[in-house]
Structure formats: C-alpha cells, structure tokens
C-alpha cells in the first residue's frame, strides 16, 4: 500500500495548495455550481406551487400519507452520519488518514442535515405553523406532544445540527487564522479575522483548542447514534406492519453510515479533481475509505437479513404480507434494485484494482447511494400500500412530478451549499494535514534510524 500522504510536502506548500482552492478552482467548479443552482430552482418552483395549492400537488393520498419527502428526509439524515464518523469517531481512534478528508465530510454532515430539515418542512401540510412543534413557552401552556417520536426527531435533528455546526467551526479556527494571514485584503480577510477569533497559535490556545475539540467530538458521537435511532423510532414506535421492527434503530444507523461513506467517496473524487487536491486526497486514503464502506455495507446487509428473517418468523401475518408484497408487488423493481445496489454492488469494492480506480469507485459510490435512497423509500411506501386495513390498500400510487421535482431540487440545494462552502472555507484541514505530514516524516525518520515504534 502506498503512502497516505507524501512526507516531504512543505507546510507552506500545504497552505498554498489549500488556499488556492479558495481562489481558482477548475472550470468544472462553476459548471457544478451553476447546475446545482438550476436544479435547486426547480425544487423551489415545485415547492412554491405545492405551498400554494396544498399537498395534493404531491399526489399523496389516503393511505399514502407520506411519500418521497419522508424517504428523502431519512436519506439526508443518513448522509450526515459519516461526517461525524470520520471527524469525531476516527479522531478519537487516532486514525491519521482521516485528516485530509474530515473537513468536507463534516461540512457534508451539516449541509445534509439542513437539507433533511427542509424536507420536514416541505412535508408539513401547514408549513407556516411549523413552530408549533417547537417547545417554546406559551401563554396558553400549549406544549408539543412529548410522546411523539416526531417531536423527539425534531429535537434530535436540531441538537445534532447545532452541535455539528459548532464542531465544524471549532475545527476550522486554526485554518481560518491561516487564511486570514495569507489571503489578500478584502471582505474575506475581514471575515476570516472575525472567524479566527484572534487565533495566534500560542501554546495555551492550542491546549484549549485540543480539549474543546475533543470534548465536542465526544459529545457528538452519542448524538450521531441517537439521531438516526430516533428517526428509526418514527417508524419502530408506530404500530404499522413493516415499521414496527425492533432492529430498526441499529439498522437505520448502519444504513446512515453506509450512505454517508458512499457520499464521501463521491465527494472525495469530485473535490480531488475540482480543487486539484491530488496531493492530499490520495488514492491510499480512498482505498481506506472504500474498505471502511465495504465493512459497513456488510453490516447493513446483515441487519437487512435480520429484519427479513425476524418478520418472516414472527407469525405477524400482516407484516409478512407487507414484506412479500414489497418483494413481489409493484415495488419489486425498487426493492430488488435496493438489494442489488446495497448488497451486491459493494462487492466491487473487494476487487483490489478497483479500490483505487477513480471511475469505478465514482460509479460504485453513486450506485450505493441510489440503493440507499431506494432503501428509505422501501421503508416508507410499501407499508402504506399494504397496511392493516385491506380495504384501503393502494398499490398504484405514484408520486407526482412535483414530488420528484422537490426531491431532485434537494440535491441541487445540497450541492450548492457544499460548493459555496468549499470556496469559502478551506475544505482540507491545513493544520491537521501538517500534523499528518509531521507524523509521517517522524515515522520515516524513525524508520531510517532503525528505531521501533514508528507509525
């Protein structure tokens, strides 16, 4: 295996390379940004229409009360998990290879959470009253219903989002200082001055920074696990066949990490090209990420099997019917598509040659995410189509173009946010890469001296 990073990159070179990404990316950057804006505006148009005429525009019905919005909501929530995995969990585990890629992963967390939050709004029948779900003090003593998993959900997402933003920000402070010191004068310099909070790189500052960063990382990990467990509770706590499954929380968390890792691979490849980060986002790092993803894919597949077998042997005929219907009914192409994308495609990651092949991994990561999106849809829709009350079965419901348009638009929104972020905030952590280079060179030196214990 090659080196995660060259040990002979000068620190100034690192600063230079990364800060360049704030100045002159490849043309493709602008293409992506423009495309993202277009896609997003489609979504906005659809939402404006839906807001004005009502949710009927989405072609949902009784019994199909929830549609793609909730499925996509779970998808985006899931996407957010890998950022935390890379930045917090791997940080605690001292996995050095995460360093060049955790920053954008963390940004991905934040933006996908924001996208997910949008879907909660888009899904509401009366968007303009969304604040009723917030436990604000009220003269009339009207509280939200603390029994409702949806409320837990809203709180968990909000907590997770705010913590993620703080974590992202704290981790970026030294880099803001670097940017402040190196960028030519202008509004951005002012912005970085403010954001850098007077960072001077003194020992005391570094000490405090380390402690704070570690604390927030520790705080974030349980949050990350809980937020998707709670999303799972939306379903598992209900009484519906196909939803009322004990293994849903771990299943959701595994699915979340899975889709998140797949998204990291996709963005890794894009950023590497667009911002010319070949030096930092190296193929060995890609390989490690791919292997991690493969491991999670297998966990997810295992949990899937658990869910199916548990239903199959549960003597819960209705839940069993839902499963059969899912696998053989009108949803069958999507169900088997999900199995294919989620459980078969990852085996491509076992092929050594492909692990570092950019085009193959790009395609694979996209397919994985398609599979994961289908998984969320296959959780939500089939239960509605084939629930407890046979009279209301409806296998024919199909989301309207408005619904598809908003789902489509959300990808534009996410990409837009992400791309703008990368242009403003250094998307590779400069100080951590320096650390990494330092560690590498230290290890190399030790190797050269024939000492033991290098890493």
């Amino acid at each position: 295996m090659g080196k995660d990073i060259r040990e002979d990159i000068a620190w100034a070179q690192i600063n230079n390379d990364v800060l360049k990404s704030l100045e002159n990316p490849r043309k493709l950057y602008w293409v992506i940004l423009f495309a993202a804006m277009l896609v997003f505006s489609v979504g906005v148009g659809c939402e404006i229409y839906q807001y004005n005429v009502g949710l009927g525009a989405a072609n949902m019905d009784n019994p199909h009360m929830w549609g793609l919005y909730i499925a996509t909501f779970i998808f985006w929530i899931g996407m957010s998990h890998s950022g935390t995995l890379l930045s917090a969990i791997l940080h605690l585990m001292h996995a050095d290879w995460r360093k060049p890629i955790y920053r954008f992963a963390e940004a991905m967390t934040t933006f996908s959470l924001m996208t997910a939050g949008l879907f909660v709004m888009v899904h509401l029948g009366r968007l303009w009253q969304f604040y009723y779900a917030v436990p604000y003090p009220s003269e009339r003593w009207t509280w939200p219903n603390f029994q409702s998993p949806l409320l837990w959900d809203a709180m968990a997402i909000f907590t997770y989002l705010s913590s993620s933003v703080i974590f992202l920000y704290i981790g970026s402070i030294p880099d803001f200082a670097i940017a402040r010191d190196n960028i030519h004068p202008g509004w951005r310099k002012k912005l970085y001055s403010i954001l850098a909070l007077g960072w001077e790189g003194t020992d005391r500052q570094w000490r405090n920074f380390r402690v704070t960063y570690l604390t927030v990382a520790c705080f974030l990990i349980p949050l990350a696990v809980s937020v998707h467990s709670i999303v799972a509770s939306d379903f598992a706590m209900s009484q519906q066949p196909g939803w009322h499954v004990t293994s849903f929380p771990p299943y959701f968390v595994a699915g979340a990490l899975y889709s998140g890792c797949a998204a990291i691979i996709t963005l890794f490849i894009i950023l590497r090209y667009v911002f010319k980060f070949e030096e930092y986002m190296t193929l060995p790092i890609l390989k490690k990420t791919v292997r991690l993803t493969f491991a999670i894919a297998m966990v997810w597949t295992y949990l899937n099997c658990i869910e199916f077998t548990a239903t199959w042997y549960s003597h819960d005929q209705v839940a069993k019917d839902v499963l059969i219907q899912k696998a053989t009914g009108p949803y069958a192409p999507f169900f088997w598509g999900m199995i294919f994308c989620g459980s078969v495609v990852p085996f491509a990651m076992m092929v050594k040659k492909w692990q570092t092949s950019i085009p193959v991994m790009f395609a694979v990561s996209l397919l994985l995410n398609v599979g994961m999106w289908l998984e969320r849809w296959m959780i939500v829709a089939p239960t509605y189509s084939h629930g407890y009350y046979p009279w209301t079965w409806d296998h024919n419901q199909w989301p309207s173009l408005i619904q598809w348009g908003i789902v489509f638009g959300s990808f534009g929104w996410f990409t837009l946010l992400f791309m703008v972020f990368c242009k403003i905030v250094p998307s590779v952590s400069m100080y951590e890469v320096k650390e990494m280079v330092y560690h590498r060179s230290l290890a190399k030196k030790k190797e050269e001296l024939g000492l033991e214990g290098g890493h």
Partner: protein, 299 residues
Amino acid sequence: MSVSNLLQNWSTFRHEHPINDKPHAEIKWAMTIDLDTCIGCNACSVACYAENNLPVVGKEKYAHGQSMHWIRIERYWGETEVKEEYDPNSNFDMVQQDFQADQGAQFLPMLCQQCEAAPCETVCPVGATNHTEDGLNSQIYNRCIGSRYCSANCPFKVRYFNWWNYPEQENAWPEPLPLQLNPDLTVRTKGVMEKCTFCKQRTYTARNNARSEGRPVHDGDVQTACQQSCPTNAISFGNLVDPEARVAKQWEQQQVDLAKEKQEKDEKADNKLRGYRILEELRPYPSIMYLERVRESAV
C-alpha cells in the same frame, strides 16, 4: 413557565387509556353498528357530508384517493372462496371469479373508531389530536400542522387529510352552495387532518342543554348525523357509562368490554353472541362495537 410547571402540566394530561386510568366519570360516548341491519345505502355518509361540511372532491381527486368521507361504506363479498395463496399484487385480475354472491354482499360502515388508546394520539408532534374527557379523539384543526403521522399510525385509515384547499376547489362549494354550510363547525383549509368527531357539535349542545337544565344527559338526547338518518336504525350511539343507555345495554349484552383486547366470550366454544370490535387485538380499544352480519343457512 418553569420546568416544574411543565412537568406538572405533563402529568395531568398523560393518561393510559383505558387501563390504569380513572374511569370516565360522566360520559363515555360509544357506538354500536349492527351489520345485519345495515343495508349499505349510504344515507349515513350523505348525512355526514351535510352535517360536517365535508367537501365534494370530484372525480379526479377521488381517483387519487383524496376523498373526504368521514364515514365510508365498504362492500365485501362472500367468504368461502379466496384462495389461501392469493396473489396480493395482481391489481385488476385478482381471483374475482371466485367471489361468491349467493348470500348477497356485506356492507361495513367504517368511521373513526374513537379508540381509547388511540394510536393517532400518541404520535402527533403538536398534540393536535387528544383524548377528551368524554372519551373521544378530538382533532384540533387550528393546532394541526399536517405532519400526517396520526394517519400513518391509524390501523383503520379513517383520518382524512386536506390535500387541497377544498373550500376553493371548483367542485366543493360553488356559490350559492356555501349557504348550506353548518355554522356549528368550521370548514377546514388545506394542510389539516380531519376525521369523524361523533358529531361533537351535537354532543356538546346536548351536554350544554342538560347542564343548563341541571340534569345528566339522557339516552336519546343526542343522535349523531349518521345515526339520525340511518333508515334501518343500524347505528346506536350513546353514553357507555349510563346503564340505561341502549349502547351500554348492547355492549353488556354482547359481553364486549371496552378495556379488553380479547373478549372472554370469544374463547368459549358455545359463544352465541355477535358483538366484536375490529382489530381489537392491536389494543387500540375502539369505541365502536359491530354486530356480525347474520345469514340464514337454511335457504
């Protein structure tokens, strides 16, 4: 608005219906529907449209499953012939040929079952659907934000969502049809959930009238719109707590206990009673008892 206030407040409205809970002191509204006399004529459904300001949605929206009938009449065929290994997916060509019509069809009016432990109530994020002290699931339109979780969790799928701004739809109330609207309740706008209320406007008027006369509500003081119109008196409605009420007598006679998810009589081999509740085993404790349809086998 301190935390202790919040906790206090919380404990007062948290209930575990119908077990471990204080019994309904004065009133528990309940219903009985006799499927042997129900003829499936839809009079109840039309009465509900008239009483509760239900919008007519028109063909296109009906096709999309967006109809708003709080009470729907379901039609079932004879029961001997659906194959065990039915194919749940063939949408059109299902084993229809095996449907048996020799003993007629069966009709079942399905409306909100006003469950005591209602799956819809616990999941509403804003508490828009609540248990009232007279045993109903209320729906507060003004509080509803339209998350539709209640309907997702309803086993009977009897909650109806305002997918469109129905008052403005061309089919619903073109002039001068709005003059027919019942001013005792609102017309719902887009984005809120609605459902059968057991004609709350009528029960409350009856309770107010009784209160102003200083007496309890008697059986017959109030009829729901569906009950009032039913040409065969298949629906009876009243106070389950009042031993004189017809509903209470029926429930007692049929040995159906509100607070049980499995009735003792059903375990007995010589059970000759026909009261049952739909999906009782899911423990929502529905407030509507159905009486099985009876068919003479001698002919």
